[in-house]
């Protein structure tokens, strides 16, 4: 039994959620602050696209941008001597792009739900934007943000289509759990695939269970 897919998946999902979590919150906050409604709607659509497109289409676009002979791919190769396509970094890239909309949408919804009068009250009391963000907005939005983070993490863990396109299926390097399951089934090893399936089911269940536990804790705090 090869344990490398488990390690690769955990590494990829962890690295991806680290980027997605903060980028999602930051971008959600930024988009919420846009005053022009049309621009806001357009940006929102573009940022949500990876969620509604088939992952292979997202993977196609990634390949189009980060392929060895493509503009961004060449840029990284020339200036950083770093080949993104078909490297471990590509699994992270795919997971980030696919899971980002979940984080972004959850964070935006969470921010929008916060009573805007609380923000105005903070401003009239002379609080800085920084204080308002960390001490008023974030605590109010936290339950929504945490659940968005968990959803994004599990989505990154389960990412298959875009990963296969941009990172390939290289054993010990880019073969994550979903790809390993596919490979084993393709080779007719149903038992080996089943082990991987159980691992991913248990992991996902644990994570969602933890999310519910944390959410319940937060609710009791909010009741004071």
């Amino acid at each position: 039994m090869d344990f490398s897919p488990i390690l690769i998946s955990l590494k990829t999902a962890s690295a991806a959620i680290f980027i997605t979590f903060f980028a999602g919150i930051g971008v959600a906050y930024g988009v919420n602050g846009i005053k022009q409604e049309k621009l806001q709607i357009l940006l929102d659509g573009i940022l949500t696209l990876p969620l509604v497109l088939p992952p292979t289409v997202a993977g196609f676009f990634l390949l189009y941008l980060f392929g060895v002979r493509r503009p961004l791919g060449q840029f990284f190769l020339e200036y950083f001597s770093f080949k993104i396509a078909f490297s471990w970094a590509a699994t992270v890239l795919a997971a980030v792009v696919i899971s980002f909309p979940l984080m972004y949408r959850s964070a935006r919804g969470a921010f929008e739900q916060v009573d805007e009068n609380l923000i105005y009250a903070g401003q009239t009391l002379g609080l800085s934007g920084w204080t308002i963000f960390w001490r008023i907005l974030m605590p109010q939005a936290l339950p929504g943000i945490v659940s968005g983070g968990v959803l994004a993490f599990t989505r990154g863990l389960g990412e298959f289509g875009a990963t296969a396109m941009i990172a390939g299926n290289i054993a010990g390097k880019t073969r994550t759990l979903p790809l390993a399951i596919y490979s084993e089934v393709a080779a007719g090893n149903m038992d080996a695939a089943g082990v991987y399936v159980w691992i991913i089911v248990v992991m996902s269940l644990l994570i969602v269970g933890m999310m519910n536990l944390v959410a319940a804790k937060m609710q009791s705090f909010r009741r004071g």
Partner: protein, 354 residues
């Protein structure tokens, strides 16, 4: 010193035009208007939460906003205390933290300041509670403590009593009045309730669809509102179109009568009004201006009787008078005492014709 506001802002259905100055006014300034008339927008413009299209706002000599000089002080720098209708206490903080966050200085200083304002508002025992554990009145006091602790130069109250239970309202009004008496600085209060402005405010401005239709000393404005919209908002129930026939004669088509006035009737008059309490029962053929009555509806309140005529005239009388003076009988006629007749004009139309 004082608050000077002269702003204009285009809103969805109308343009908000507000201009006033609290200089020389020691008491509370009120803005009376129906919901959606632009009252809250005015407060938000003063606070800097929204930006007017043009105009100027000056607080105690500091220019907060000037469209021509492109001055727009940030909300944080305006020192404007804003009591929100919903009080806007931060739900994730205790009352003490809600107050301390608004205070500058070291931890011990902030603690001391918070203690002082908790005591001033008599809510010391609630210091460690979260806002959602408090009643409406307690939340209001906590919010006020927080605002006063931040040392604002003007206090703005947005419908301060609308979220409170009716039976608590009056007690809380009296308490609030006591607290506000000691506040050094201008107080601006916005409400749709004529009793509240009358009770609290020395100066009022009446706002109707973004336009200031009446301004001045509260009692004077209530006594002579001049504009139809202002008369309505101050609670005048009987307002009808009227035509000036001569300097002392006017015709009221809705009531089918010609009224004689000792006062000179202004040329701009196009409506008259009379408050429902000021009509006096009279016998048919009595002297003075009289309308004969065909009664349509009688409504009974705890302390008052309201009778409505078929031509839409409202008459209100206290229950005591109703029983002892009128023996629960509806009069044949109602007299319109000259001194109670309001000369009014429809402000909007007059503006269009200009």
């Amino acid at each position: 010193m004082g608050l000077y506001v002269d702003i204009e802002k285009k809103l969805k259905d109308f343009t908000l035009r507000v201009k006033f100055d609290t200089e020389g006014n020691n008491g509370i300034t009120g803005i009376l208007g129906a919901s959606g008339c632009g009252k809250s927008m005015t407060l938000k413009s003063i606070a800097g939460i929204v930006t007017p299209d043009r105009g100027r706002i000056v607080l105690n000599g500091r220019v907060l906003y000037d469209s021509e000089k492109k001055i727009h002080v940030k909300v944080q720098g305006r020192k404007v205390g804003y009591l929100f209708q919903s009080y806007a206490l931060f739900p994730n903080m205790t009352i003490r933290d809600n107050i301390e966050i608004a205070v500058e200085g070291s931890k011990t200083e902030r603690r001391k300041t918070a203690d002082r304002y908790l005591a001033l508002m008599k809510i010391q025992e609630l210091a460690d509670s979260y806002p959602n554990r408090l009643s409406g009145g307690q939340q209001q006091r906590a919010a006020l403590a927080r605002i006063l602790a931040s040392k604002p130069e003007v206090l703005m109250l947005d419908e301060p009593f609308s979220a409170l239970d009716a039976y608590l309202k009056e007690i809380l009004q009296i308490e609030l009045l006591d607290i506000l008496k000691n506040y050094q600085g201008d107080i601006l209060m916005v409400t749709h309730n004529r009793d509240e402005v009358y009770r609290f405010c020395d100066q009022i401005h009446i706002l109707d669809r973004g336009q200031m239709v009446a301004s001045g000393d509260t009692k004077a404005v209530f006594h002579n509102p001049q504009a139809v919209a202002a008369a309505k908002l101050t609670g005048c129930k009987n307002i009808v179109p009227a035509g000036r026939k001569s300097a002392h004669e006017l015709f009221v088509p809705a009531w089918g009568i010609t009224m004689m006035m000792e006062r000179e009737i202004p040329e701009w008059l196009d409506h008259i009004g009379i408050r429902a309490h000021y009509l006096i029962p009279a016998a048919a053929g009595a002297a003075g201006n009289i309308i004969s009555c065909r009664w349509e509806k009688v409504l009974e309140d705890p302390f008052e009787i309201t009778a409505i005529l078929d031509n839409g005239v409202w008459w209100k009388v206290s229950k005591e008078d109703w029983k002892s003076k009128y023996k629960e009988q509806l009069p044949e006629c109602l007299k319109l005492p000259e001194e109670s007749v309001l000369f009014l004009r429809e402000e909007q139309e007059r503006e269009l014709s200009l």
